[in-house]
Every structure is written in structure tokens, then in C-alpha cells.
Subunit: 334 residues, 2 copies
């Protein structure tokens, strides 16, 4: 993708959403059915998050991977719903861990029902995910998603212990987002392919597509935190800076600004002592150092790599739609 494309509007996901429409309706029904519980707080809290402005990209990826690989049965539907439950469980726990205020345009669940309920309903959704996977009956898919769940938690702990480090390297940053975000995209795609009975090299290619897509997706997420607007995003831009969380835009800006700014970074990020005007100053430094442009460029490279991974699959329906998804991950505004 070149610079002109980077300024373009995001490609429409409509062809993909139309292709996957009936499957995604069935996935939605499975999600509704499995978030139910005789304990009233559980469906209320789960619904708050799940019915939010979710794009359902991860289950969409499972469906698209399975259908691209020729799946004829509906085992991928339960896996797709499981993937969304794993994602939702990690969001609930993340928001408690980060004390986030907003999620998907709504007040974070822990601010309504309390952190204890958020932790426990996260556990419920995580367990439900495994019940759905058992229902899908594929031990290899279970292995992929159990491993992914473990890798995600490792990524979250790594982020918790390292992401406030002024000297965080780009290498460790990529390691963190590969685990906390890209792993579930990778597993979602791979599980879809595996459930379709695809050959091992195709399963690996789909995994690679998912991983690179996930990396692009998270890089854009981190860029939007310095360039998006609250209404479109459904959360407050500048949150990462306020929390002292080092992501690529900040990491590049810190490395590229003069030594005279070192005190500014130490105070705002390391000691998290922020005053009015600090966020604006950080925005300026990120712009001046072209940190945001380089973050977007890296995301575009991962999207291209994702598309290259599945270029050999052929087919005139699902393949172009998945390519659109890779472009969308980079060009989206929210």
C-alpha cells in the first residue's frame, strides 16, 4: 500500500459482511444463547459489552478462514462464538487491570457492576468459550485456542510489567502486541482452517494471515489513541499517554526527541505526574518526530504481509474479502 492509499477512505467491509452474513447471524445467536445464565448479573453484564459496538472481527476471521478453506459444515460457528467470548473475557479483565473508563462507547462494566463482578463474569465467558469449543468437537482447534488464551495472558502480564518502561525496546513492544492481540487473530484464523480440515500448510498460512492482521490492527489501535476522536473511537484518545503506557508512537517519539525532552518523559510517563498541556505537548512531539507516520507505515507493511500469506489460496469470493479486511485494519478510523 502506498502513501496515496494511506490517505484513502477505508475499504468497505460490505462484501465480506454479506458473504459471512448468514454465518454471523448464527454466531450471534450462539453468543446470545451462551451468555445466558440463571444468575441475573451475568447476562446483564455480558450483554452490556457484547451488544456494544463490537465489530466481531475475530469470529468473522474464523468464519472466513473456514469457508475459504472449503468448510461445508457448521463446526466453525461454535469456534467463532468461542473466539468472541475469549476476546470479551480479556476485555473485561483488561478494563479492570487498566481501570479504563470507556469501552465500545459505553461506560466500562466495572464502573457499573464493580470490578469483582467484571472479573468473575470474565471467568464465566472464558469457561463458556471452552464449552463451545467442546461442542465444536475438534481437539486440534481446542489446542490452538487454549494455547492462544495462555499466550494472551502472558502478553497482558508482560504489558503490565514492562509497558511503563521509558526504555522499552521496539522488539519487546512487538512481542507484547504479538501476544496480547495478534495471537487471538492468528488462532481465530488457524482454528477456522483446521476445523475445515485444511492441509497443514494452509493452516499455517491462515495463521500467518491472522497474526499479521492482528499486528496491523493493534498498531492502528495504538496510533488512533493519538489521532482519533472520542466519538468515533468509543473511548478517549490520549488514554495510553495518561496511563503512562508506552506504545509504538510514544516509543518512537521518545527515542527521537532531543535530550532536553527527557525530563518531560520521565515526569509524565515514568512518574506519571501530568499537568494540563502535557498531552498536547506529547501530541506535538509525536507529530514532529513522524512517530505516527512510521507506526501507520509499519501497520501497512504487516497488512501487506498478511495478504501475501494467503495469496496462493485463489478463489474469487472469500479471498478478495479477506484482503479487504487487511486493508480495513489499516485504514479504519475507529
Amino acid at each position: 500500500m502506498d502513501a496515496a492509499q494511506a490517505l484513502a477512505a477505508p475499504p468497505s467491509l460490505d462484501p465480506l459482511l454479506k458473504l459471512a452474513g448468514p454465518d454471523m447471524q448464527a454466531v450471534d445467536a450462539l453468543i446470545r444463547e451462551h451468555m445466558d445464565s440463571p444468575v441475573p448479573v451475568i447476562p446483564a453484564l455480558a450483554d452490556h459489552l457484547i451488544a456494544g459496538s463490537a465489530k466481531r472481527l475475530r469470529p468473522l476471521l474464523t468464519i472466513a478462514a473456514a469457508r475459504l478453506c472449503g468448510a461445508r459444515d457448521d463446526n466453525c460457528l461454535k469456534l467463532a462464538a468461542a473466539v468472541e467470548f475469549i476476546h470479551t473475557a480479556t476485555l473485561l479483565h483488561d478494563d479492570v487491570v487498566d481501570s479504563s473508563q470507556l469501552r465500545r462507547g459505553r461506560v466500562a462494566a466495572h464502573l457499573i457492576w464493580g470490578a469483582p463482578a467484571s472479573v468473575l463474569v470474565g471467568d464465566f465467558l472464558f469457561a463458556r468459550a471452552f464449552e463451545l469449543m467442546v461442542g465444536a468437537g475438534s481437539m486440534p482447534a481446542l489446542e490452538i485456542l487454549a494455547r492462544a488464551s495462555r499466550v494472551i495472558s502472558e502478553g497482558e502480564v508482560l504489558q503490565l510489567t514492562r509497558s511503563h518502561d521509558l526504555d522499552l525496546s521496539q522488539e519487546v513492544y512487538i512481542e507484547i502486541i504479538k501476544a496480547k492481540t495478534a495471537e487471538l487473530f492468528a488462532a481465530a484464523a488457524e482454528a477456522g482452517a483446521v476445523s475445515a480440515g485444511a492441509a497443514p500448510d494452509r493452516c499455517r498460512a491462515m495463521r500467518r494471515f491472522g497474526q499479521d492482521l492482528g499486528l496491523a490492527f493493534q498498531l492502528i489501535d495504538d496510533a488512533l489513541d493519538y489521532s482519533g476522536d472520542a466519538k468515533t473511537l468509543g473511548k478517549n484518545p490520549g488514554d495510553d499517554f495518561r496511563e503512562g503506557k508506552v506504545t509504538l508512537p510514544l516509543l518512537l517519539a521518545m527515542a527521537r526527541t532531543a535530550a532536553s525532552e527527557r525530563d518531560f518523559w520521565v515526569r509524565t510517563i515514568d512518574r506519571r505526574e501530568q499537568v494540563e498541556g502535557d498531552l498536547e505537548h506529547a501530541f506535538d512531539l509525536i507529530r514532529e518526530t513522524r512517530a505516527l507516520d512510521d507506526t501507520l507505515a509499519l501497520a501497512a507493511r504487516y497488512a501487506d504481509s498478511a495478504k501475501a500469506a494467503i495469496a496462493g489460496f485463489g478463489g474469487a469470493t472469500w479471498l478478495p474479502a479477506l484482503n479487504d479486511l487487511a486493508d480495513f485494519a489499516v485504514l479504519r478510523r475507529a
Copy 2:
């Protein structure tokens, strides 16, 4: 079990521990191996809890059930380690939810590493449990333990939303402890039997044994909170009262004390406004109303019911050892 027995010393678990010794050593090795991670906080935090004074009753139950049902292979070892990981994950999350200070005689993990790390390492252990189950290769065992994980979280949410209710019924109390505690004992035993290829009626009987054992175990836990001592318990007695958590001893005492005490319960439990001397007064009321005796008696009935469930199994080694375990659950002092 009669009153004289209730005053007796707990039966020794030595025969069971000796029988299961080699298996449990292998389970310990699996636990050590699978709590490892390249992210340093994870094994440190997990080790703090897992290396504590854990009795490992739940994995012991999986091993004993499998061997009693004639298991010759070692699939039960991975399931047993998975059961301990599920248990440890729920303990980590529980201590965050309850803001507990002590666990297994040590400072609670969240007070050392923070609540965020405890939540995330709980997620790690939960995911590891499913990786171990996949390794055991039994889809029916996976189904049993995935379902149990979900039921446990439902029980925890039910406890969170109902256990401060002055008018909690004995029925709802039993529903809570059946879900939050007895379900994992039931699943641990059933998964062991299933992995041994036992007939469905034997699997059901082992499940029943586990469930009744778990109910007895939790009732004694709740009684010890009003009768044990901190050193033996590894946690502070009176915690339930201080947290305003209604368990059977308190529930019976509240129902049996005169209307004149109602203000005391409303203030200390409902409003959680406690002053010096309140805990002692509650102890007195619990003693006077024989609430503790009746809690112990109910536990003894569940232990008897557990033993009855597997009476037909026969065998001169594992069966008596499992009967000892049921008696131990009731007669233990910690």
C-alpha cells in the same frame, strides 16, 4: 458418624497419600512444568500460591477416582494437574474479589504483586488447565471440566450478589456452595472416572461422591471460620463475619436469635458497621443457638452420603482410602 466420632481426631490421610504417592509426585512435576513462563512474574506469583500449604485434595480425588475405576494409563495425571490449576486460578480471583489478606498461611498474592497481576496470572493458570486437558486427550473429561469452570464462576457471582443478604435462605446458601466449591470436587472425581473408561453409572457415582465430599468440605470451611485458630487455618477466623458474608453458621444463628438481636445483625452484616466486641458477640450467639453443631452435623451427613455413593465399588485399597478422605473432610481442623 455419631457424636463421639465427631469429637475424634481426624482420620489419617496417610494410606491414601501413600497409595497415590507416585502419581501425586508426577502431578507435582506437571504442575511445576506448566506454571513456568518466559514472563518472570507468572511463575513467581503462581509458585507463591501453589507451593503454599496446599493439600492438593482435588487432584488427589481425580487420581483416586481414576485408579479406583481401574485406570492403567497416566491420562489422569494431566487432568489432576488441570484440576489443581483451575482451583488455583479461582483462589487468585477470589482473593482479589474478597480483598482477602491471608491465603494458605501466606500474605495474599494481590497484596504483593497487585490485583492486576493476580487477575492475569489467574487467567494464565486457567488457560494452562485447558492446555493440560487437551494433552490428556479426553473430550468427555474436557466437557466435564469446562462445564465445572463455568458453574464455579456462576457460584462466585451468586455469592457476590447474594451472600450479604440477611434473609439468605439455606436453600440458596447450599446452591452457592454446590456451585462454587462442590462442583470442582464433583468434576475432579467424575473426570478421573471418565478418563479410566468407567461405565456411566460408575462415573455418576464418582461424581456424586465428589459433590457430597465438596459440600461437606465447604460446610466445615465455613464452620472453621467460627471455630478454628489462625495458625492452623492459615487464614484469620472471623473473616466471613468481618466481610459480612452469610454462611450456614451465621444464617442459622440469625434465624434462631431473638428479634431483639435483629438490629445487631442489620448493623454488623447488612451495613457492615462493626465495632470492637461484635465478633465475640456473634461467636456467642452462634454457640448459644447451636448453629455450629448443626453445621457440623450437616457436613457429616454429606460425608456419609458421599461414602454411600461409592459403597458398591468394592476393592480393599482405594475404596477405604476414599472413605477416609470423606471422614477427613469433616473431622479436619484446618
